[in-house]
């Protein structure tokens, strides 16, 4: 009643924005620590690298975010990336003519994987967690059956793409930003975007509202896997070969970034701006720890602490 009716004011003034703000404040703190402890940290070269690195995680995380916004989850993204790297390296095999066809093939493969996920969830009513967990294991198995050691070769064009610049920025980072802008627009100004929030907000209400929830689910899962396969291609560009190590535990990093970015695991709340914050925070933190020569064993510890700190900040805000 009255008690509750006052909260919107508070929320409008600080509510969701604080959640997102918290991430950016944490990023600011990390940058400050970095700047104070190493002069290399804020160098143009390092920032260029950090943003390019963030784009790798970012591309996949955007897809994960879409799925999570519908109250789903996709545990298979790491395996999709791994499979894409291997398949594209083997098929491309250093040939320039093969480049474009292979890109289409692996992105088509991504769409197919997403379609299968949504199919099982929609038609057989199996939980997304289960479906994509199975898919994680299966796709990983297929990928490793192709090779357990680096295999294949990217074309020269793909290899060169990694170092392309647009002004001071990496082309890969620009690509990421374009994706961000597109998804931001899509979530706000299209029916599909509205339906995503509606489905995540309450599936039953969505169904009773006449929303084509199955189609929405096909959409988000296919986009998610498509973005994962795009990330796989970026990795091919970076490595030049199909390295089966790529994509390990990536699904956890994407979920972490989405959560740190303020998107609710239960769906219906969150968005792009926070998610970029989550991606940047994780990437900058990893970069900083390396710059500071923190032993690898402690890196996990510190990353975990930051996750808890970020999420604790949200809880504070919600109380």
């Amino acid at each position: 009643m009255t008690a509750i009716s006052m909260q919107p004011l508070r929320r409008l003034v600080m509510g969701r924005n604080t959640r997102i703000l918290a991430v950016y404040i944490l990023i600011g703190i990390l940058l400050l620590i970095g700047a104070l402890s190493s002069e290399r940290f804020l160098s143009e070269r390092n920032l260029f690298n950090v943003l390019r690195q963030a784009s790798f995680l970012g591309v996949v995380t955007l897809g994960q975010m879409l799925v999570i916004l519908t109250a789903g989850i996709d545990l298979s993204v790491g395996s999709v990336v791994k499979l894409t790297v291997l398949v594209s390296a083997v098929l491309m095999n250093g040939s320039s003519e093969n480049t474009i066809p292979v890109m289409f093939i692996v992105m088509g493969l991504g769409l197919l994987i997403g379609f299968v996920h949504a199919f099982f969830i929609n038609q057989l009513d199996i939980n997304p967690f289960i479906v994509t967990l199975a898919s994680y294991v299966i796709l990983r198995g297929i990928a490793l059956s192709i090779s357990t050691s680096p295999i294949g070769k990217s074309s020269r064009e793909v290899l060169l793409f990694y170092d392309q610049r647009l002004g001071p920025l990496s082309v890969i980072f620009v690509l990421f930003i374009l994706l961000v802008a597109f998804l931001y627009w899509m979530l706000r100004y299209t029916t599909f975007g509205r339906y995503i929030y509606a489905l995540g907000g309450n599936q039953e209400v969505a169904r009773l509202s006449g929303i084509p929830i199955k189609r929405v689910r096909y959409g988000v899962f296919m986009l998610c896997s498509l973005l994962a396969s795009l990330c796989g291609l970026l990795w091919l560009s970076r490595m030049g070969v199909g390295d089966p190590v790529i994509g390990n535990s990536l699904e956890l990093s994407t979920i972490t970034a989405v959560i740190i970015g303020g998107t609710s695991l239960f769906g219906g709340r969150g968005g792009v701006i926070g998610t970029i914050g989550g991606v940047l925070l994780l990437t900058i933190l990893a970069n900083l720890l390396v710059t500071l020569n923190v032993p690898q064993y402690y890196q996990g510890l510190i990353e975990g602490a930051v996750i808890v700190a970020a999420v604790a900040l949200y809880k504070q805000d919600r109380a």
């Binding site: 009255t2 029916t191 209400v205």
Partner: protein, 500 residues
């Protein structure tokens, strides 16, 4: 008047500058049933939340059993014997009845092992004291009816030796004989010296159960007196601040050709095939107890449950509704009974809720035309007089009445030929109720056919041109509006053997 158990003195409370309670004083005598009434937003819940320690008052004090407190912490209030039973029951669905009653306070051995036998005995004793010894101790509460779950909540309060139990709209989830059972329980609690604060929107209940009534309006007490000194009209006037001579607007009785013909439909949740005809501009009321198949009938017509037989005709076209989507496209709308679970995206803005079912119409190639969307929302706000600061507010922050108007707006925007209203005025205050009735009449006047499901018999009698009564998943009788009486409907709605 000597045995005052609770006195809340000069309580004021503001939220971010808006005064929710202004110098409110409220006193309860031991063993009385004290009704706390008022429109949504009047401050009833805030006052009770201060008592329960959920909120702290800005000023004022609480005198409880002779001791003066500045306020309570939630745990403190419980320990001192104050229990609040909220509308949303706080039970753990998969734990048993006995486990729920003593949740967190189980009798234990050293080392934390629960003394199961003792737990069951104590639980049985509490249920006996409550007058419902037949509730089984060992089944998960999710298998009980809502009415019985509520009894378990009350048992939980009793097991804490509560002297003061606040019931926040307990009847909102009950119907018919379940309500009678609740009143019997309240009466027995009263005999045992337990004091009850009874919050309700339904005035007939207040008159039935309370000794004393306190009316809140806009955060202030406008009246506190024995219920015997008031009649219904006076109480309404106190709550609303204006008199309401005519609660139910008159029907014009101008009915056209059939809008909806239901032809022998059956689902897994109905026991017999249902057939009826609903004409343009007509309101057909569906009465019956909770669980009699009313909601299931609505869901069948709306395509939310799978039909196993039959079909419907709408606007002369025969269809078998496959999904809500299909039904909506055919011109049917359903305003569901459970606003939060089925009607609204509570965490989304008002705007998104109103436009969600017509986004297709407001967009081109999937891109939403925000101008047109805003125009539609603004139009709805004005025509339904939805009270909101702006359309970006999440609907969960609106009062019950305004939430219901948002659901109505969403469905009216689909321009339905037939609109099904399942408990259209549940959890809605008197003022908003009146407005909803007027909207229904306006819809009838423009030819929209209404199927109204309601547990409130005065509402069914007041609004319906015709009435269907349901029982045990089948139609048990029908009346022309003028010919029905409460008694006749109740007789049809209840079978010989009482269903528990």
């Amino acid at each position: 008047m000597t045995d005052t158990i609770l006195e809340m003195r000069h309580i004021s409370k503001a939220f971010a500058g808006v005064q929710a309670l202004r110098d409110v004083s409220f006193a309860c005598q031991k063993g009385e049933v004290h009704a706390l009434v008022g429109e949504n937003g009047a401050g009833k819940s805030t006052l009770m939340k201060i008592l329960a320690g959920v909120h702290q008052a800005d000023s004022g004090e609480i005198v409880y059993k002779g001791t003066t407190y500045r306020g309570f912490k939630p745990r403190e209030a419980l320990d001192k014997g104050i229990s609040v039973i909220y509308q949303e029951l706080a039970l753990s669905p998969y734990l048993t009845v006995a486990e729920n009653i003593f949740l967190g306070r189980e009798p234990r051995y050293r080392g934390g092992i629960i003394k199961t036998q003792q737990l069951r005995q104590q639980a049985a004793a509490v249920l006996k004291r409550l007058g419902v010894p037949d509730i089984p101790l060992d089944i998960p509460v999710s298998e009980l009816t809502v009415a019985r779950q509520q009894m378990v909540e009350i048992a939980k309060a009793l097991s804490r030796n509560a002297d003061l139990i606040v019931m926040d709209e307990p009847s909102a989830i009950l119907a018919g004989h379940e309500l009678d059972q609740l009143f019997v329980t309240i009466e027995s609690l009263k005999q045992q010296g337990v004091t009850i604060v009874y919050i309700s929107h339904r005035l007939d209940e207040v008159f039935r159960v309370a000794n004393q009534v306190t009316v809140l309006k806009d955060g202030e007490v406008v009246s506190s007196q024995p219920i015997s000194q008031l009649n219904r009209a006076e109480l309404v006037r106190l709550m609303v601040g204006r008199s309401m001579d005519e609660i139910y607007p008159k029907s014009k009785h101008q009915h056209g050709e059939p809008a909806l013909v239901v032809d022998g439909i059956l689902t897994d949740h109905l026991s017999e095939k249902v057939s009826f005809t609903l004409n343009k501009g007509e309101t057909l009321g569906i009465a019956g107890m909770v669980g009699s198949g009313r909601t299931e009938l609505a869901r069948a017509i709306f395509g939310a449950d799978k039909l196993t037989a039959g079909s419907i005709q709408i606007g002369g076209k025969k269809i078998v509704p496959r999904s809500p989507r299909h039904a909506i496209r055919s011109g049917i709308a359903l305003v569901p009974e459970d606003r939060k679970g089925q009607g609204l995206f509570t965490a989304l803005p008002i705007r998104n809720n109103i436009s969600i079912s017509i986004l297709k119409l407001l967009s081109h190639l999937g891109i939403i035309d925000r101008k047109r969307e805003n125009a539609v929302v603004e139009q709805s706000r004005r025509s339904l007089s939805i009270n909101m600061a702006n359309a970006d507010l999440e609907v969960q922050f609106l009062s019950g009445g305004n939430q219901q108007k948002v659901v109505l707006a969403k469905w009216l925007e689909t321009r339905p030929a037939v609109i099904i209203l399942d408990e259209p005025t549940r959890g809605v205050d008197v003022g908003a109720k009146f407005e909803i009735y007027q909207i229904m009449r306006q819809l009838n006047d423009t030819g929209v056919a209404i199927l109204m499901i309601s547990s409130e018999l005065p509402e069914v009698l007041g609004m319906s041109d015709r009435i269907l009564v349901m029982r045990d998943g089948a139609v048990a009788g029908s009346f022309e509006g003028g010919a029905a009486t409460e008694q006749a409907i109740i007789e049809r709605a209840t079978s010989q053997e009482a269903v528990v």
